[in-house]
């Protein structure tokens, strides 16, 4: 019997993996294509001959600036921040076991914004803002966890406390923003919607480093996360240290989301949509890589549209992400097989 079943399972497994790999491959190709299109297109006309060397930092003059200093880092920031948002959302959704549970709803993004706004109004610039955003986010995550601790943390209580803390944090932000009386509309918009217009190499490196560290940490966490879906008892029975993992993942997700937010502003919807989309594409719930790639595709494609689409471009990227992600999600929702 086993001998009959095993090949079947192996085939099944192979099919699943092939499917995952295929989906990831297609997503990667899409990312590369969109990124390439982004680098090729833009308001300045650059000859293709100048473009190639410039893209690798070899050219000089206008081409070098436009391609190497503007378009390449922008494409990279889009890609990386999308991946981070996707990962963070995916992580939280699995952590709490609720599709609505993103870093936004758990108050993490609000914490990042509050901290960032606070130092902004104190006059800090650049890296100080980013660091404080991350500190704010991780701090809120830790606070939420501790406040919901009562012989372990039930996801439900975690979420309730997160909502409460998040509400406080966003009240702080709103207050600070309205106090900072002369905040320009332009800047407020950029802060609220999320834009890649400020993308530069420093941002790329920060994101890359975060993604690398995050990926490694996630690797450690992901096996344990697989058991989370079975409920805390069974997860523990299978050797997962439930509370520790929950705390760690909470902080990790907060960190990932905060770093991305501090560089691009809160690019909406990616964190919410990447996980469910990826799960429906690869037909499994534990699709971290796919979630990251879906996040990246969405942001890169959105940025391409934001920069080049007729009639509307240029607009902040955050205003386009949902236009891409949401219909895809609805489509999969309506047509997806009932096997997530």
């Amino acid at each position: 019997m086993t001998d009959a079943l095993l090949p079947l399972l192996v085939r099944e497994r192979r099919r699943d993996r092939t499917r995952s790999a295929l989906v990831c491959l297609v997503l990667s190709v899409a990312i590369l294509a969109f990124a390439a299109a982004e680098i090729l297109a833009g308001s300045a006309d650059i000859a293709l001959d100048d473009m190639i060397p410039a893209a690798f930092g070899q050219g000089e003059g206008l081409a070098a600036y436009v391609v190497f200093e503007t378009r390449v880092p922008r494409a990279l920031v889009a890609l990386l921040s999308g991946a981070l948002f996707g990962l963070a959302g995916h992580l939280y959704q699995r952590l709490v076991g609720n599709v609505l549970a993103t870093p936004d709803i758990l108050g993490i993004s609000a914490g990042a914004s509050a901290a960032a706004t606070a130092v902004l109004t104190l006059g800090a610039v650049g890296i100080g803002v980013q660091v404080s955003a991350v500190v704010g986010a991780v701090g809120v995550a830790a606070l939420v966890f501790l406040l919901s601790w009562h012989r372990g943390v039930s996801p439900y209580r975690l979420v309730l406390v997160g909502i409460g803390i998040g509400a406080c944090a966003s009240a702080v932000t709103t207050y600070l923003v309205t106090r900072a009386d002369e905040m320009s509309v332009e800047r407020a918009l950029r802060w609220m919607i999320g834009s890649l217009s400020g993308a530069d190499w420093a941002g790329v490196w920060v994101l890359l480093l975060t993604l690398a560290v995050g990926a490694v940490l996630l690797l450690f966490a992901s096996r344990g996360l697989r058991t989370f879906a079975l409920g805390d008892d069974l997860a523990a029975a299978l050797g997962t240290r439930v509370s520790r993992l929950r705390f760690g993942s909470l902080l990790l997700g907060a960190g990932l989301a905060a770093v991305a937010t501090s560089i691009t502003g809160p690019i909406g919807f990616v964190a919410l949509v990447a996980g469910p989309l990826a799960a429906r594409l690869v037909r499994r719930t534990d699709a971290a890589v796919a979630a990251a790639l879906v996040g990246a595709v969405i942001v890169v494609a959105a940025d391409l549209i934001a920069q080049t689409a007729p009639f509307i471009s240029p607009v902040p990227t955050g205003s386009i992400t949902a236009v891409i992600g949401a219909p895809a999600l609805i489509y999969l929702l309506v047509h997806g097989r009932r096997r997530s």
Binding site: M1, T2, A4, L5, L6, L8, L9, V10, E12, R13, G97, R151, L219, F220, R223, R226, T227, A229, L230, G231, D233, L234, A236, A237, L238, G239, T240, R241, R284, T285, R338, R339, S340
Partner: protein, 286 residues
């Protein structure tokens, strides 16, 4: 399933040979202490049936033994080492648990669920290989759920689902199995099949099995030893035929019954005497 050697009736009782021991444990929930000062040991290769009325603390004891509930006092020793000092992973490699009413995540397939039982054996970077799949396939086959491998768990009948959970516990390949009412939802044939399977496992792989059962006849037929729990205390312990008496059933369960030996095997048959269980005109059974 292949023919198995007859069960060796080895009941060495020294605490040293106990693979799992609870010593003076106190466990309970937030406000409620369920078990206080319980000592009990489980010898290697034994099948122990935990019986007792509802709410007597059977599931609580099982959870405490698997360190799913924090001990308020006392300790549980796995192979002589305190559970608290061991890593979750090491415990999970040696001790498998089937909770009383586990919930499957939405959309998960049978094969996927069962393969999660392999979790404690995974290495960080290694994806589960063919070996793991072989174990999963084995577990599916012996529990009779092989044809269901592709089905979403939520679309199964109650008994099918229960067997899938048993398969998951088996896939964990631990030498110690703690099963909370493994036969729930199963039809009689599958109940016997599962119990036979457990007996096989004990015989072939010398697994130690602790299970909660409500069916006293099955407990008597399959367990080496019965632990009778009542209101959190151990009220009887020993070989089924010695422990199971009409008096005990009356005292512990409050059930009038008659106990007769199985005409073929001699295991006790417990005939409950409910108010309606008698028929005015006994009839011949065809």
């Amino acid at each position: 399933m292949t023919a198995v050697p007859p069960i060796a009736e080895d009941r060495s009782d020294g605490p040293h040979s106990d693979i799992l021991r609870a010593e003076a444990i106190r466990v309970g929930y937030d406000t409620r202490v369920v078990i206080d000062g319980l000592d009990v040991g489980f010898p290697v290769g034994s099948i122990t049936a935990l019986v007792g009325p509802n709410a007597s603390g059977k599931s609580t004891l099982l959870k405490a033994l698997a360190r799913l509930l924090p001990l308020q006092a006392g300790q549980v020793l796995l192979d002589g080492a305190a559970l608290q000092t061991m890593s979750s992973r090491v415990i999970a490699q040696r001790l498998g648990v089937l909770p009383q009413s586990p919930l499957a995540p939405e959309g998960i397939t049978v094969a996927d669920l069962v393969s999660r039982g392999r979790h404690p054996h995974g290495r960080l970077l290694r994806r589960s290989g063919v070996d793991d799949l072989r174990v999963v396939a084995d577990a599916l086959v012996v529990t009779g759920t092989a044809e269901l491998a592709d089905r979403p768990v939520e679309s199964l009948s109650g008994g099918q689902r229960q067997r899938v959970w048993i398969a998951m516990a088996l896939a964990q390949q631990t030498s110690l199995l703690l099963l909370d009412e493994p036969t729930t939802y199963l039809d009689i044939a599958h109940q016997i099949e599962v119990l036979d399977l457990l007996a096989d496992l004990r015989a072939a792989a010398s697994k130690t099995i602790v299970m909660v059962l409500h069916d006293l006849e099955q407990a008597a037929a399959y367990a080496d030893r019965l632990l009778v729990l009542s209101e959190g205390r151990l009220v009887a312990e020993g070989p089924p035929r010695e422990v199971l008496t009409e008096q005990l059933v009356q005292d512990v369960f409050g059930l009038r019954s008659r106990i007769i030996p199985d005409p073929d095997t001699g295991t006790p048959l417990i005939l409950p005497r409910g108010r309606h269980s008698s028929s005015p005109t006994p009839q011949e059974i065809p």
